[in-house]
């Protein structure tokens, strides 16, 4: 049984259908990629899974329970963690305090009086931003802030990790290190679900990939299968089958910012 099951979810904003009968799963110990052009409904899917957005139709099942009606914080308490595409770091707090707050929320009032700096710094070190620990979170570079969001999320011991474009703003070396970290996290039993535009990263770390276009899942499969899929090529590049052959996945990267 998969850890997370998204079951025929539909989200409509007025006349616009942002997500149209999307169905996919995420398993413990594996990394699942969610890709697609801008506006395909990826972030909306994340909002539905975390409870920030009510689906018009469909269900979310998590650890074999229907959590569709659960509030945001309850899902989080049961191990659903996420980062945001448009950053949601606590800008007035230092990087260290950002993670500390997460620990304090996770631990409840009893944790408010303990001293947990060691654990916090370990997490900052793990994502590689310990050098920034004492800086205000609104003064650090975007890429670093994304890693901070990941560290903050890890502080609450998530079982399901939703990462919304985690690598944008990272340079090549940082992206490689980040990919290794993801594999490591999955190895520890975490289910990672990732929205990402860096195709190299997606293709190299994901076990499964789902492609969204206009709110609908147009393809699912392993990286190799996705790379060869004609529908995906069309959705990304607008090419017909006849002139697609010259383009490989690295082109996708160029098209999508």
């Amino acid at each position: 049984m998969a850890l997370l099951e998204v079951d025929e979810v539909v989200v409509r904003f007025g006349g616009v259908t942002a997500v149209n009968e999307a169905a996919f799963t995420a398993d413990r110990g594996s990394i699942t990629g969610l890709i697609g052009p801008n506006g395909a409904g990826k972030t909306t899917c994340f909002n539905v899974i975390t409870g920030l957005q009510k689906p018009t139709k469909g269900r979310i099942r998590y650890r074999d329970r229907d959590v569709t009606g659960w509030p945001v914080h309850k899902r989080a308490r049961h191990g659903v963690g996420r980062t945001f595409q448009r950053l949601e770091a606590f800008g007035s707090l230092t990087v260290r305090d950002n993670v500390r707050v997460a620990q304090e929320i996770h631990g409840g009032p009893l944790a408010w009086f303990g001293r947990s700096r060691g654990g916090v710094d370990m997490l900052l070190d793990r994502v590689g931003i310990l050098d920034y620990a004492d800086e205000r979170a609104d003064s650090i570079p975007t890429g670093t802030a994304r890693l901070l969001e990941l560290a903050r999320c890890l502080a609450s011991d998530p079982q399901l990790l939703l990462l919304d474009e985690p690598s944008s703003g990272l340079d090549e070396t940082e992206t490689d290190a980040f990919g290794e970290l993801l594999v490591e996290l999955a190895g520890e039993g975490c289910a990672v679900l990732m929205v990402e535009h860096d195709m190299d990263l997606v293709m190299s770390v994901c076990n499964d990939i789902h492609v969204l276009d206009f709110g609908r899942i147009i393809a699912s499969g392993t990286p190799a299968e996705i790379r060869a899929d004609a529908d995906v090529q069309r959705a990304y590049l607008g090419y017909s089958e006849s002139d697609e052959s010259a383009h490989d996945t690295s082109v996708m990267e160029v098209v999508t910012p």
Binding site: A76, A89, S92, I105, A155
Partner: protein, 655 residues
């Protein structure tokens, strides 16, 4: 049956006037994101202008109407948008609310200056003319009101759907940034909607003045009616707003007709709009968390613990010197300032740290005072009970609006304050109508603090202890959580924080602090009554707290002192009162630039002088005054109070 028809008809006419007022409110709010809490106050002021034109200057009614609605009101609207509220809609809700609150207070002050209290009446249009409709009489004024409402509805419809600028107005409701990109001019749109909005406030006020009387406060309070009506349309839909206004009018009319004329239910009639508002707010759907918002607010600097302790000790010394130096009747004034300052501390927690606005903080103090006055032999335990009861009331207010945030929460607290002021405090189990209760001085371990001087010093001590506690809290886990919640509620939610209950707890704690201040205040005064806790006082408390700086305890101290001085100056030194008003007005407008208030400018000044002007002075000063400037010169009461404030600033600097 025919009486039901008559009252329904009557309600429709009042509702029509509410609809005119409410549509103006909705128009300005949707296009500029600034909720004009002074909407009713503008209606009030312009009704007085209309009265002045027609009754004092002898201008014909039709000409006066054209002048007020077509010239004066739009000019005011343009001016306000251009110089006061421009750009406020993009900032935090609390700042926009406090700036318009500043206008409300200023408008009432202005009206009282221009037209000192005396009985004056605005006559209905064509007084005496009426027709019999189905067995009930309809006056010409009522018919005109209804026709005006229809004209306003039709005019707004034409403007919004048939004109270019109307389309731009509708576009700016959804996304002003996008409008700018497409070549629209949000400033012009905003100016026009403020001009129309103020005109509609004026028309509503003029039409309602014969019904609710030409009174500074009654007309100002109409903003609650307008707001309640607008809430039916979620502050967006004009047709729903009109419907809401009609329902409210009819409900009020039925209340007049069918509620018993004696007992507590009689006073309920006056608060129908507030009750109506509560019901709608409770029925509102859950507010969705917003993602992708501006974060990282620069708050006032947090002093080190050593510096805070030093400042606290300094303040106690200054207070001691001051209390023993001033005239006996001025000792009590220092106690009043301490009361206000403690209530403002509760706002530092709620508004400054937590980002929520309460327009009922002095009402919570009233609940604390009421509880305290009911105790015989009040001791520290009794004071704690007073705080707890107020905290319970705070939780009760926050509970129904648990799911809502920002503006809705703030305006519900205003409805609560009006409800308490007009109904509960006047009830027989409370202070009774026009009544007062006697309150004892506080006893500690069996010793009564009898003398004024020691009691007031104890109040200052309470302020210092609470302020230190607050700073300690701000430094700890709770403080981090509060900031995190203000920076990104969505992130807090996805990390597992149940913000609804957290908010209730925060409200309760804040109300508890205010209740404690109320208890101390009751002990100070000896007798307290409903008149000490008018809803308007809560508005002043919030205004001065935010203007002087709701993000620092120094701001609370300054604000409390200023609020005490204001009526004193008004009575004895009007020119000083004028100066203070100017300071408050400038401070309110400056909030758009720095939401940390005037205290933060002082901090900046302190750092600047400390760093640039006198680098060596700090060391020398520290040598001279080991624990901050306790030895300030003590001259006459009022002046020294200012010195008191300044000396604490010095302490913050020198520490």
């Amino acid at each position: 049956m025919s009486s039901l028809f008559a009252y329904t008809l009557l309600g429709l006419f009042t509702g029509a006037a509410y609809a005119i007022m409410a549509s103006g409110l909705v128009l300005t709010y949707t296009t500029t994101r600034v909720f004009n809490i002074a909407h009713g106050a503008f209606g009030m002021l312009l009704s007085f202008v209309f009265w002045d034109f027609t009754q004092r200057q002898g201008v014909p009614t039709w000409l006066a109407l054209i002048l007020v609605l077509g010239v004066v009101a739009p000019a005011i609207g343009w001016f306000i948008q251009r110089f006061v509220t421009r750009g406020l809609g993009e900032g935090p809700v609390s700042v926009a609310l406090v700036v318009t609150l500043g206008m409300l207070v200023a408008l009432i002050g202005l009206a009282q200056q221009l037209w000192p209290p005396e009985p004056r009446a605005l006559l209905p249009f064509y007084a005496g003319t009426s027709w019999n409709v189905g067995g009930t009489y309809v006056t010409a004024h009522q018919l005109i009101t209804l026709l005006c409402a229809i004209a306003v509805a039709f005019g707004l419809y034409l403007l919004l759907s048939r004109t270019r600028i109307g389309t731009a107005m509708r576009a700016s409701v959804d996304n002003p940034e996008l409008l700018k990109l497409f070549g629209g001019k949000p400033d012009r749109v905003a100016a026009l909607s403020w001009m129309i909005g103020i005109s509609l406030a004026a028309l509503g006020g003029i039409l309602l003045a014969p019904v609710v009387l030409l009174d500074y406060y009654a007309l100002t309070l109409l903003v609650i009616n307008a707001y309640a009506a607008a809430m039916i349309g979620k502050l967006k839909s004009l047709p729903m707003t009109f419907a809401g206004a009609m329902i409210l009018g009819i409900l009020e009319s039925y209340a007049v007709a069918y509620l018993p004329k004696d007992g507590i239910l009689n006073s309920v009639r006056a608060v129908i709009p507030a009750l109506f508002l509560f019901v709608i707010v409770v029925a509102m759907p859950q507010a969705q968390l917003r993602i992708g918002q501006v974060k990282g607010i620069v708050t006032a600097p947090l002093p080190t613990m050593r510096r805070s302790l030093g400042s606290g000790a300094g303040l106690l010394v200054v207070a001691f010197v001051l209390i023993n130096a001033v005239a006996p009747n001025q000792v009590l004034l220092i106690g009043v300032a301490a009361t206000y300052a403690i209530v403002m501390l509760s706002l530092v927690l709620l508004t400054g740290y937590g980002g929520h606005v309460s327009l009922a903080q002095f009402t919570f103090a009233g609940i604390g005072a009421l509880t305290y006055a009911k105790l015989d032999e009040p001791n520290l335990f009794g004071l704690a009970v007073a705080a707890l009861v107020a905290a319970g009331a705070g939780a009760l207010v926050a509970l129904p609006v648990l799911r809502l945030t920002g503006l809705y929460l703030a305006l519900s607290t205003m409805a609560f304050a009006v409800l308490m002021d007009k109904v509960i405090f006047n009830a027989d189990f409370a202070f009774k109508f026009n009544g007062t209760l006697a309150a004892q001085r506080l006893s500690i371990l069996g010793m009564r603090i009898g003398s004024d001087t020691s009691y007031v010093w104890f109040m200052v001590l309470a302020f210092v202890v609470l302020a230190l506690g607050l700073l300690l809290l701000r430094r700890g886990a709770l403080g981090r959580l509060l900031i995190a919640m203000r920076d990104s509620p969505s992130a807090c939610g996805t990390l597992g924080l149940d913000m609804r209950w957290f908010r209730v707890g925060l409200f309760a704690l804040s109300a508890g602090i205010a209740g404690l201040a109320g208890g101390l205040f009751a002990g100070l005064r000896g007798t307290v009554g409903a008149a000490d806790f008018l809803y308007f006082q809560s508005l002043l408390v919030l205004l001065l707290a935010v203007v002087f700086g709701a993000t620092s305890v120094t701001g609370a101290l300054l604000g409390g002192t200023a609020l005490m001085l204001l009526p004193e100056f008004q009575a004895s030194a009007p020119e000083m009162a004028g100066l203070l008003f100017v300071v408050i007005g400038v401070g309110a407008v400056l909030l758009g630039r720095d939401p940390n208030g005037l205290a933060n400018y002082l901090f900046k000044l302190g750092r600047w002088t400390g760093g640039k002007v006198a680098p060596g002075l700090e060391g020398r000063l520290q040598g001279l005054l080991p624990r901050g400037g306790g030895a300030e010169p003590a001259a006459t009461g009022d002046v020294v109070l200012e010195a008191d404030v300044e000396s604490t600033m010095v302490i913050e600097k020198v520490g």
